[in-house]
Amino acid sequence: MSGPLLDPRTAPSFPKAAHNLLRDAQLRKNVHHATSVIQNKRARVVAELGDWEQLRLAGERIREHTMTHLDAYLEQFEMNCTRAGGVVHWARDAEEARQIVVRLAKEAIAAEQRESPSPAEILKIKSMTTEEIGLNGALEAAGIRPYETDLAELIIQLGRDKPSHIVVPALHKNRQQIHEIFQREMHLPDLGHSPEDLAEAARLFLREKFLRVPTAVSGANFLIAETGGVCIVESEGNGRMCLTLPRTLITVAGIDKVIPRFRDLEVFLQLLPRSATGERMNPYNSIWTGVYENDGPRAFHVVLMDNARTSVLADREGRQTLNCIRCGACQNICPVYRETGGHAYGSVYAGPIGAILTPQLQQMQHARSLPYASSLCGACYEVCPVRINIPEILVHLRHKVVKHDTKGLGALRPEALAMKIMSHIFQSESRFRAAQRLARTADRPLARKDKSGESWIHWLPGMLGGWTQSRDLQALPSQTFREWWEKRDRAAQPKPTSAKGDQHAR
């Protein structure tokens, strides 16, 4: 039932994937429309708050403090969660996390089946962490059928598709496409086209599962160290159903999700909804602590997963990536993401945050094109609610990619050679002058006069050809600035106001 995986190990490089996706006019229209709507809503509700910048600073400081003392806060969470009746499990990597969840799910289902015959099924609340580890595939392989209950995740699951956004996973689909999926997969030949019709179909489809399936898997927005509580915010109420109706609840969370105190939610429950969906507050804010007699799940498990987060933590420059609270604002504002959508990134974490998170969670060779999937325009940094300097981390990761790729014979790659040569040129005035003269000679054969008599280049060889696929390049002027300056200097002190160079009309 689960669709193809977004796996950086097998995904094509970003430029290749983007090349194909850019031809999908419908997808681009959908992504453009959806990101514009959310972006504008966000801007409106952020502008309402006079202390937004102070909130961002507070968010950044709390996250930085937490990451500096992560070990202590995780142990505190474990202690308090256990005391409240929860069971904490530790997973080193994705494989371990999958094994633990599958085992817990099997045990819960077996216990249910001892009481009454029931199929092996579980409910799921939207969770990018379970997407990160490909949990649905592992459950299916173990004979357990997962039901996604978030509307967007349901669309993805029924359409055998892949999530393209961390908050709005089906953002690349429009209403017509969703209608087709529901009609086909829910066997509803007479399904209407209005949003109400589609919502009602999903409601009827899901409600029956909520009432029948007694085991659920969730992610977490925040783990509260001080109380051992877990917090999830959502908009549809499916989360509340999954957190309260089942008898067994299994939560999978990255170790980066911990916050120190309950009162820190004051900051994050303002930053997150405004940044994520442009809402002042999420319609559903659930916080639960352990288990209670006759109220909610009888068994509660938390799987705390590392999966390379500690190695991110060990990198001084990259560390702030872990401060992310998964709001997706950087995706909505990113001019690159807005052209390609999320699938181009070959990872469940797309957009600017994906471009820095994925290469750090994976071995670099599997995601080396992602740090380059940005024009470094800085819009992501500007909207990030916890002030992660994404452009700076992109540059840091590019440096790592280069160091990795230029080892040994890699130093002979054309780009590496060109960069080395240019660095050598820039270290000497005379070499720089010679290079300028050479460039002027070299571009002559490529230049053609246009109607107005200007010389332009329409084709460039090799890797420079990327430029001329959509842009012309004006031929080099006959004189560099420094040549003009020297001539002017040599002339007998001309009056400054009469100084006229040979204008390079553009």
Binding site: F14, P15, A18, H19, L22, P335, V336, P371, Y372, A373, S375, L376, C377, G378, A379, Y381, V395, R398, H399, K400, V402, A416, M419, K420, M422, S423, I425, F426, Q427, S428, E429, F432, Q436, D450, H458, M463, L464, W467, Q469, S470, R471, D472, L473, Q474, L476, P477, T480, F481, R482, E483, W484, W485, P496, T497, A499, G501, Q503, H504, A505, R506
Partner: protein, 256 residues
């Protein structure tokens, strides 16, 4: 014309690509500053700030540019750079790069020199508005112009309303606001080549916005964006042209 304080000796850091590709920009910077009564010098040993290397991941190859820059400009009263992205790069990376170099033991005192020099380094429009307090240059430019806020100028240097206020003061100018002002044109240095398809898609949006203004000229504080926009306009066969803000502010006569 208004100018704060005494005439300055201003050193021009033209940057490698302006030197090679856009000499008219440097000439305009000289003209504007001399018209204001300042002295301009041009340290001949200057080459490149290293932005392209760093932004492409070649951090180590950019390191030698820092001691060279300091050597050329350490005695300058003020340094003017007609490129917002180069200034942004220098402010964002030079301190860390200088510390790294100094840690090798070969560049004693470099970090302190960089810290002392950087506050005297100004992007061109920033020098006029923030250092010299200029509000009106008395320039003439009788054309319809739209201003593109380069990402580095907008977000990193926080130029804000500075460049547009200078443009508004130009006589006979017809200034048209550019829709989607905060959106990147898709240049991004080597991004334009490494991700040519996405870069081109971003450029298409920018070109549509430019054409919607019916402007004859697109201007900016950064010729790298303008080279990108101009290349796209020429490929589309449009007559709209690009011009660095210094060339507009230098305008005393009919521009071509």
């Amino acid at each position: 014309m208004t100018s704060l304080g005494d005439p300055l000796r201003i050193s021009l850091f033209i940057t490698c690509y302006n030197d090679t590709l856009f000499p008219a920009t440097g000439q305009a910077v000289v003209r504007v500053l001399e018209r204001l009564g300042h002295t301009v010098d041009f340290p001949a040993g200057q080459t490149c700030c290293g932005q392209m290397h760093v932004n492409t991941g070649y951090w180590d190859e950019a390191l030698p540019m820092i001691p060279r820059f300091v050597e050329q400009f350490r005695n300058s009263e003020a340094v003017v750079v007609p490129s917002s992205s180069c200034v942004a790069h220098m402010r964002e990376h030079y301190p860390a790069m200088a510390r790294q170099l100094e840690a090798t033991g070969k560049y004693s005192g470099l970090a302190a020199e960089v810290e002392a020099l950087l506050p005297r380094v100004y992007e061109f429009s920033e020098l006029l508005t923030k250092r010299l307090g200029i509000t009106d240059l008395g320039s003439i430019f009788p054309h319809r112009v739209t201003y593109h806020a380069s990402c580095h100028g907008l977000r990193s240097l926080q130029l804000g309303d500075g460049p547009t206020s200078l443009l508004r003061s130009v006589n006979d100018i017809d200034l048209a606001p550019l829709p989607g002002l905060e959106q990147c044109c898709g240049f991004g240095g080597t991004f334009a080549i490494k991700n040519a398809d996405v870069s081109s898609a971003m450029l298409d949006e920018k070109l549509d916005a430019v054409l919607s203004t019916k402007a004859e000229i697109v201007t900016a504080c950064d010729n790298s964006c303008l080279m990108h926009i101009n290349g796209g306009l020429h490929r589309r066969g449009c007559n709209v042209r690009t011009m660095h803000i210094a060339e507009i502010l230098a305008g005393e006569e009919e521009a071509r």
